[in-house]
Symmetry: C2
């Protein structure tokens, strides 16, 4: 029979596939959350503001918003701002909550606040529902 793996080479495909799939969602999640932040705190989400906060040029932000629209997460009218659909709002809500839990957990295990803020921006997209639930339980227990 084919040599099955003994050590590190176990079911690697599913692991990498899942990571790649999460990665393809990351940009959508960050833009959605950013747009929602702007709508809440500034009242509108203009392309220029989105671009400035994301640290990209405005054509890059325009492309990202196009993708959001294509995926049914946002709407926009030329020279008016960008808005979120119901689905977009739901995603923003979920993403914001998860982001906060990730930062809190990092801080709870001893990560300095500054590093926690920076690292959470990348980590959050790979935290599954199962892991998120475990983080919440850990935080609740140690409260």
């Amino acid at each position: 029979m084919a040599a099955e793996d003994d050590t590190a080479l176990g079911d690697t495909v599913e692991r990498f596939s899942q990571a790649r799939s999460a990665q393809s969602q990351a940009l959508l999640e960050d833009y959605t959350e950013m747009i929602d932040d702007l709508l809440r705190e500034v009242g509108e989400a203009r392309i220029t503001d989105i671009a400035r906060h994301m640290g990209v040029t405005h054509p890059t932000a325009t492309k990202a918003v196009s993708r959001l629209k294509r995926e049914g997460l946002a709407q926009s009218r030329p020279y008016r701002g960008v808005f979120l659909t119901e689905a977009g709002l739901a995603m923003a809500e979920r993403v914001r909550a998860r982001h906060r839990v990730v930062v809190d957990l990092l801080v709870a295990v001893g990560v300095p606040a500054e590093a926690a803020e920076l690292d959470a921006e990348g980590i959050e997209h790979y935290v599954s529902d199962t892991t998120l639930a475990a983080f919440e339980a850990f935080l609740a227990a140690r409260r």
Copy 2:
């Protein structure tokens, strides 16, 4: 003076920039670790094996190895396997250690082993040295 941010809109640019930069390293890190795993456990790292374990087609693996060679992490001769340079070996070592610490930390805070394995594959690439040190301290303390 320009309205500084009150809430979620703080230094977002650095956060997102750092996350993007980490992302561009992720693929390199995973292939390097995988090649090292194969060299250790199988004795050679052929393109086909790399591809199969990464869950991609062989031309995709070939492209990735090309990038590794370009970045000075690997070498290869046609129809012979792929090898790691000193720099590649060092990266593999570092990445493997970090991967293990991330899995261990997830399990330590209550994440089920299965989910920890899956999520760590993505999370690891966004764990900074500072955060890694905090994870290690946490694990050492609770040992």
